[in-house]
Amino acid sequence: MKSRIAFATLILRECYRFARLSGQTIAPPIVSTLLFILIFGYSLGSRIKQIGGFDYVLFILPGLAAMGVINNAYANSSTSLFMARMDRSIENMVACPLSPLQLVSAFVIGGLMRGLVVGLLTLAVGIPTVGLEVHHWPHTVLVIGLSSVLFSSLGILSALWAEGWDQIATFTTFFITPFIYLGGVFYSIHMLPAFWQKASLFNPIFYLVDATRWAVLGHSDIPYWYSLAFLAGTALSSYGLCVYLFKKGYKLVR
């Protein structure tokens, strides 16, 4: 019972953190989506032909949702843990009767909740504005959930590794952002030359975007199950690595 209360408190703490700052955490990706819809739907969209049988703005919407999920899940756990390391409040948590599994899970669930809220709200924006009809809701939630777990875990890993805020930003600038933009958010990889089609398969974010597109639109560049398996495998292994490092006390216990 005590252990459950402790875990619930940890989760509450993580969710309260992003909910209290919803103007900085939830609103920006929704505003960005509306801007993309405005630009690609009403301005440039008419000049781009359909992709996979979908209007361009509809085609990019799942990718925009995935982009929001990635950025927000990563930002949530990396900021929360790195701040806790900087103000040393992580030492207080380590000194409490909480297990490494509980600590990691709470950080991941915080990112998961923020990822789900941002992802689903982004799609919800598309329903009235561009007539989005979601192909498969349960798979949509599953893919967004796994994506959130993966990037929350990566956020934890970078917050453990980093020694300054610039290093947290480095991971975003040099890994996440380029891979998102090269991961098929704005195009189908079938539109690329053969070499770049193959190269895209080495971009982990491509699988995430493609799986989201299949769940939302029923269209994908590669079979959905390949992407889902890749996503589940990387999410679980990253999560497992975080638990292992917490158990080892990496940068937490001297």
Partner: protein
């Protein structure tokens, strides 16, 4: 009586530096134990090992029978810890900081709210409950740390310099609170640079230096063991040269006779008897200077506690 803290041959190395070198210590349940030592002696490392923030290189720490490394959660359930440096989340206000702390220790939400309210009142923080900690003065931040440590209703309360920067009145209030807590069965481990605090509160003292416990005992025993008390008597009337030479530790300067001894009552009695044995002589004044923990500390470590505090503050500033 069960043992609250049992430390066996504890070592901690940071590369080539040995921070702890074979610490062995038992603190019985219910004791008010003081840990004193110069800056860098290993106090904070030892405390960190007890609360699970330092992984020992060798040896073992048990809290109420539970190994901190083998059964960390079982051991930590007994502990409330107020660290030397403020380590609370900047994001949350005081009330929520305390409520979350209660939750981390498994306190149901309603119970945590009630206890947080009580402790905010007790520590004079109720009016600041909606502020974040960094908006408080240094003394208030320290009080918040102690209040947070108490949110777990600990059987073992560990306080690392809890009154540094706290004003005298608040410090005495905290002493009273801690004494009551201790009377009700809470074991307390305290580190402090205030000698009066250690003397006023601690039943037993451990002095640590260079990562070793170099002395253990009650304040009274330590003072008796390491300090000579001194009695100085001003005499009116003639004194013959060498008159007191047969009394050990006694010297004469002008009209003053001074005697140093561990059992100062016996020495003073002998001295007075000798002075008053000659007709026409009388005692004009008597001063007694007793040994204290400061002197014990100085003898054992070569430094005063005040110097240690200054070194620490200087180190922190650097």
């Amino acid at each position: 009586m069960p043992t609250a803290i049992q430390i066996t041959d504890l070592h901690k190395r940071y590369g080539a530096t040995a921070a702890l070198q074979g610490i062995a210590l038992e603190v019985p349940a219910g004791q008010f134990f003081g840990l004193l030592g110069p800056n860098g002696a290993g106090k904070t490392t030892l405390i960190s090992a007890i609360v699970g923030l330092v992984r020992p290189s060798a040896g073992e720490v048990r809290v109420f029978g539970h190994s901190v490394t083998e059964e960390p959660r079982a051991a930590k359930r007994f502990i409330g810890f107020s660290p030397q440096e403020i380590n609370t989340d900047r994001f949350f206000n005081l009330r929520r900081t305390l409520e979350f702390q209660g939750g981390f220790h498994g306190l149901p939400r309603r119970e945590a709210k009630r206890l947080a309210g009580e402790l905010l009142e007790q520590f004079g923080l109720a009016e600041k409950a909606k502020l974040q900690f960094y908006k408080l003065s240094g003394g208030m931040q320290k009080r918040l740390m102690v209040a947070r440590a108490l949110m777990s209703r600990p059987k073992l309360l560990i306080l690392d310099e809890p009154t540094a920067g706290v004003d005298v009145e608040q410090r005495h209030e905290l002493w009273k609170y801690l004494r009551d807590l201790n009377k009700n069965g809470t074991t307390i481990l305290l580190t402090t640079h205030y000698i009066d605090e250690a003397e006023a509160l601690c039943e037993r003292i451990g002095i640590i230096d260079h990562g070793r416990i170099i002395e253990l005992g009650t304040p009274k025993d330590l003072i008796e063991k390491y300090c000579d008390s001194e009695v100085e008597i001003a005499v009116e009337g003639e004194m013959a040269p060498g008159e007191f030479a047969d009394l050990p530790g006694t010297s004469v300067a002008g009209n003053r006779v001074r005697s140093q001894a561990k059992r100062i009552g016996v020495a003073a009695e002998a001295l007075l008897a000798r002075i008053l044995s000659k007709p026409g002589r009388r005692v004009a004044d008597i001063n007694v200077k007793k040994g204290d923990l400061e002197e014990v500390f100085l003898r054992l470590t070569g430094k005063t506690l005040r110097e240690s505090e200054e070194a620490q503050n200087g180190g922190a500033a650097a």
